[in-house]
């Protein structure tokens, strides 16, 4: 076999893993089991296809899927009726991610009280903040505040990203949390106003850049 043909085969090998193509039997069985148990399957199927596309061995993919199913079933049981809403999949995925990141069950129940359609995203943000080293108290407070904003999805979309950049700039997570919180309270200063100058030489003026759309 020529090296060119071999390269072509390697390039094309994962193509069957993409959407529309059936999954290999063991993975399809895992997804079917999840469906039978009433768990959301889209994320499981996506993870299976991700693994296949990356060339991961099916046995390892199956192990990851089983862990996901275990995590989803656990939060499903924990949340009970609260997990039966129209945002069930996003909620369970967010809850599982947050719990894996270290969120306690009482805090999880607290964040689930956010509006339907927002709470799953909020839990994902909480998971991100915890992984960045934010305390549970800070993470919950910031997410709850974002969830109650006039535009909660937009507030949540920027929350973990801002937090990550503040931490990357050298701020301790606790200081970053204070700054994020104070910025939201003040509603006028840039979230990175206290980032060391050498890291913000290209910082545009939000007021100039987007008239009338400055941070709240």
């Amino acid at each position: 076999m020529s090296s060119r043909l071999l390269a072509l085969l390697i390039f094309l090998a994962p193509s069957w893993a993409w959407a529309g193509e059936p999954l290999p039997d063991p993975l399809r069985a895992a997804v079917a089991t999840a469906e039978e148990e009433g768990l959301p399957v889209a994320a499981l199927e996506s993870k299976a296809r991700e693994g296949l596309a990356k060339g991961v061995e099916p046995a390892r993919i199956q192990a990851v899927l089983e862990q996901m199913m275990t995590d989803l079933a656990a939060v499903d049981a924990l949340l009970g009726e609260a997990a039966r809403g129209p945002d069930r999949e996003a909620l369970l995925l967010g809850a599982a991610a947050a719990r894996t990141a270290g969120l306690s069950d009482p805090s999880l129940r607290l964040l689930v009280q956010a509006p339907v359609g927002v709470r799953g995203r909020g839990l994902q943000s909480a998971a991100d903040l915890l992984r960045l080293g934010f305390s549970e108290g800070d993470a919950v407070a910031l997410v709850r505040r974002a969830c109650s904003a006039d535009e909660p999805l937009r507030a949540l979309a920027g929350l973990a990203t801002n937090a990550s950049l503040l931490v990357a700039s050298g701020l301790a997570p606790s200081t970053a949390a204070e700054q994020l919180s104070s910025q939201e309270n003040a509603g006028r200063d840039h979230p990175l106003a206290n980032v060391p100058p050498q890291s913000r030489s290209d910082l545009p003026d939000p007021a100039q850049d987007s008239p009338g759309k400055g941070p709240k």
Partner: protein, 168 residues
């Protein structure tokens, strides 16, 4: 919350940033600057030919690039369709013949989002994505999966790699 600017710093050789701006910051067809946001950043992957978002500015300090990401600047929340954005991604991979983006929005299909070569080893792509949270990686030459080192957020993919995260 209006436009937010985020910063990162990365090391880069002299001149790379300017080339990236010139070559990669071309608006996609149908570009509407008032209704969509441009997510830009830059990164360099030494040795491996890594991925990057678009470089935007440079610190006066030697070898420090200032990277800017723009959050949604458009419409109000509510329907996800109202908050879709164009995300402009740039990958530096001097040794690569091709680079693609595979992510949770395209079923991890390495064929659906090829990046265009813009010269100097840079590859670029514009993606319009509805509001949401997405994981992705760059795929070099159809086989080498690399995270975007400029992405502020990343997450363990469960397979021993780290996916980059876009939040819209």
């Amino acid at each position: 919350m209006g436009v937010e600017r985020h910063l990162l710093t990365h090391r880069a050789p002299d001149g790379l940033l300017e080339r990236a701006i010139r070559r990669a910051a071309l608006p996609a067809p149908g570009w509407r600057p008032r209704s969509v946001a441009l997510a830009v950043a830059a990164s360099l992957l030494a040795g491996l030919g890594g991925g990057a978002l678009l470089a935007r500015g440079r610190s006066p300090q030697a070898e420090t690039i200032t990277v800017t990401l723009a959050a949604p600047a458009g419409t109000t929340t509510g329907a996800p369709a109202d908050t879709s954005q164009i995300v402009h991604l740039v990958c530096q991979a001097p040794e690569a013949g091709s680079v693609a983006i595979a992510g949770s929005w395209n079923g991890w299909n390495v064929a659906s989002e090829p990046m265009r070569s813009v010269g100097d080893g840079l590859f670029a792509a514009d993606l319009r994505l509805p509001a949401g949270r997405y994981e992705y990686m760059f795929v070099v030459d159809g086989a080498r999966w690399i995270p975007d080192p400029a992405a502020p957020l990343g997450v363990d993919d469960g397979f021993g790699r780290r996916n980059s995260v876009i939040e819209i």
